[in-house]
């Protein structure tokens, strides 16, 4: 109630204010407060660091003995960006993109049948157990798991030995410190992030949908392509984003399993910060990576929308004009 109305009431106005208009309102916190913890967290630990990286990328590295670059506004320049595009680094960017796209698709190809099977064919009692098994790798530290793969992929390691024992290869299998090694490692590390959203998506589809499809004459494959997969699309997209984005910036897998031949952009950025002590160039590389990821996602989104438009156009039924 404003002071204005208070005064009117005090002035002894004869007409009493209808009770309905001055119903006491329960004090209500503004609704955005619900999102406040998330906002605080994002601003402190996401927006600020990214802003700092942006700032560093504009700064100037005074000397390699002083780690922190000069970021006073009068030295701001874009000079670091062309240097970050050094011809030596370009192939590594492309390789990172290739490994990430390939890794995302391998994860998708492995996860779709598995998640579908888990969500529709396995009894609910066993589903929990199997989902738990999918998450087992997360119980161990990421680093330790990846070091474990070093042992497996080593020339005299488990895979190599077994393949030689059964006579598939004659010499040592050189998977460690290659792109193939990194590829295997990232698929292993990111697979659960694809399986979980896909499983949820498949699990939520009403079995009446697939029954209706079969009832209308579609066999199992057609039903999967035309009904099940389109309905599970949100899960597939979530899974692809969850795998692709962290994979682009992965540093541990590539540095442990990639060596010189399998190095990725994340390793390169870390190298600028930790070994070369050129924070400005490292920051510029990081900014380029962010732009790269966003551009890649934009391209995927366009391709996805195009594919969807094609599918919809093929499905469209244009009815003849109604006879009035």
């Amino acid at each position: 109630m404003t002071t204005d109305t208070m005064e009117t009431a005090d002035a002894g106005s004869t007409a009493p204010v209808p009770s309905s208009t001055k119903k006491p309102r329960r004090a209500r916190a503004p609704k955005f407060l619900l999102a406040l913890p998330a906002w605080t967290w994002f601003i402190l630990f996401f927006a600020l660091p990214v802003g700092l990286v942006l700032l560093y990328s504009l700064g100037e590295q005074v000397s390699s003995f002083v780690q922190k670059p000069d970021i006073s506004p009068d030295v701001w320049s874009l000079d670091n960006f062309p240097k970050a595009f050094d011809p030596a680094f370009a192939p590594i960017f492309w390789r990172t993109l290739r490994i990430s796209i390939t890794g995302t698709f391998i994860c998708l190809i492995i996860s779709v049948p598995f998640s579908y099977w888990l969500a529709t064919k396995v009894s609910p009692r066993w589903r929990g157990v199997l989902l738990g098994l999918v998450l087992v790798p997360f119980w161990t530290n990421f680093l330790v798991r990846t070091i474990g793969w070093q042992l497996i992929l080593a020339p005299n390691g488990f895979v190599s030995q077994k393949l030689q024992d059964v006579g598939i290869t004659s010499g040592d299998l050189g998977l460690l410190y290659t792109q193939a090694g990194v590829q295997i490692g990232v698929v292993y590390n990111y697979l659960p992030l694809m399986i979980l959203p896909l499983y949820v998506a498949f699990e939520r589809i009403d079995s009446a949908m697939t029954e209706a499809s079969k009832d209308l004459g579609a066999n199992r494959l057609k039903t999967f392509v035309q009904v099940t997969m389109p309905l599970a699309m949100p899960g597939a997209i979530a899974g692809m984003l969850l795998v692709f984005i962290p994979l682009m910036g992965d540093y541990i897998t590539a540095s442990l399993l990639g060596g010189a031949k399998g190095t990725m952009a994340g390793v390169l950025v870390a190298d600028q910060f930790l070994n070369t002590f050129n924070w400005s160039r490292g920051a510029a590389m990081a900014v380029i990576m962010i732009g790269f990821i966003l551009a890649a996602l934009a391209v995927f989104a366009i391709v996805g929308l195009l594919l969807r438009a094609i599918v919809r156009a093929r499905r469209r039924v244009s009815l003849p004009e109604a006879a009035a």
């Binding site: 009446a208 029954e211 209706a212 009832d215 209308l216 004459g217 579609a218 039924v317 244009s318 009815l319």
Partner: protein, 399 residues
């Protein structure tokens, strides 16, 4: 829904030849069909023969096996044993997508990512029907259910009744020889349900397609069906046309499930043509197998058969005295609840013009003619001896 001359109406009965004994397209034959889920017997040796073009209802409370029977016909479940034939052809092992059968699902099961027209076109697309032909057939089917103006909507943008019509069009556009309907009206409100009952029946008689309709609503079954199969515990209790089912129920369960009944338990007397209950004698003049004298038995009388009067009608049997406990006005009929003591209540329904003016608390006599008394053995007493004043159909259906 005018009587047009579209291809649906012109649909001709093809006769399946050679080896199928001239069975007409759309006929259904179930012989000793059993379906077990583990140890649970869902369907217990059902035999049923449905003629081409017939509208048959499977009616029963939940868990009676009616939906399982439907799912076996659609191909979603395989019978444990027994034989099933559609149009004279055995269907064992034929997957659902190869059966000349379509289903209208309980919750409609429309594809949410497709428009109404695309949903209806789905079946034709699977068969490889050309674009132009598809468009014509889809628009005919949508016209048939008056959904043409909403052809471009998505299912979530429509009401339950509209989705229901689209589901119907999606099934019928394929011109199946058999249409299965799994409680398709269950989710609609009463008024819409009654409208759809009339439309469904009209459609069915125009198209000449065999309809197998699953429901737990006895009114629905009575109003639409050529024949009704009343089911209980995986078996068919009684199979007959609505009149027979209503007038000549073969068991206490059927009597109680179809319409309403006042049940009385007692001991068989009068050479097995009556029972004695609470000092009163209830006799029946209906021709039925006489009861074993002295055995536990049930008598049933429909509320509309009972007359309520202020004076003693002076008959020796089928008269019960009680106190008027309640009067409800149901439009053209008036319903009386008469308490006969010992917690027993009798429900009587009289047309407004024939109902006496009474007030609650008054002492009244309930009486009826002997041909309105049904007698049964006490076998199904547990099923039917709920509170006689409550709606048994609903109690039994688990609502």
């Amino acid at each position: 829904m005018d009587s047009g001359n579209g291809p649906f109406e012109e649909r001709q009965r093809r006769v399946v030849d050679a080896g199928s004994a001239g069975a007409e397209t759309g006929s259904v034959e179930l012989v000793d069909v059993v379906k077990m889920f583990g140890d649970f017997v869902a369907v217990d040796r059902i035999s049923l023969s449905v003629q081409a073009g017939e509208f048959i209802s499977l009616l029963g409370p939940s868990g009676c096996g009616k939906t399982t029977t439907l799912r076996m016909l659609a191909g979603f479940e395989e019978p444990t044993s027994g034989e099933m034939r559609i149009s004279g052809q055995p269907i064992a092992g034929t997957p659902p997508h190869k059966r000349d059968v379509n289903t209208v699902f309980q919750a409609y099961a429309l594809f949410p990512h497709m428009s109404v027209a695309e949903n209806v076109a789905y079946g034709l697309r699977q068969k490889g029907v050309g674009k132009a032909d598809t468009a014509v057939r889809v628009s005919e089917a949508l016209d048939m259910v008056k959904m043409r103006p909403l052809a471009d909507r998505k299912p979530r943008q429509m009401s339950g009744g509209q989705q229901q019509r689209v589901a119907l069009a999606r099934a019928l556009v394929n011109r199946p020889s058999l249409l299965l309907l799994d409680e398709p009206l269950g989710a609609l409100d009463r008024k819409l349900r009654e409208e759809m009952q009339i439309e469904l029946k009209l459609l069915q008689s125009q198209l000449g397609i065999t309809f197998i309709f699953v429901t737990h609503d006895q009114e629905e079954a009575l109003s639409m069906s050529d024949r009704i199969a009343v089911m209980l515990d995986g078996r068919i209790e009684q199979l007959g046309d609505p009149y027979t089912i209503y007038e000549h129920p073969s068991s206490a369960f059927v009597a109680g499930f179809i319409g309403q009944q006042n049940f009385f338990s007692g001991r068989a007397v009068e050479g097995g043509a009556g029972i004695e209950t609470d000092g009163a004698t209830l006799t029946s003049s209906r021709s039925a197998d006489p009861l074993v004298v002295g055995s536990d038995a049930l008598a049933a009388v429909r509320p509309e058969a009972i007359t309520v009067s202020e004076t003693d009608p002076g008959a020796s049997a089928n008269v019960l005295r009680g106190e008027l406990a309640g009067i409800s006005h149901l439009g053209d009929v008036i319903q009386f609840v008469v308490s006969t003591g010992g917690g027993r209540e009798i429900l009587a329904r009289l047309p407004r013009t024939k109902a006496p003016r009474l007030s609650t608390g008054q002492s009244v006599w309930c009486s009826w003619a002997a041909d309105h008394t049904y007698l049964f053995t006490a076998e199904q007493a547990d099923l039917v001896l709920a509170d006689p004043a409550s709606d048994k159909a609903e109690v039994l259906a688990g609502n």
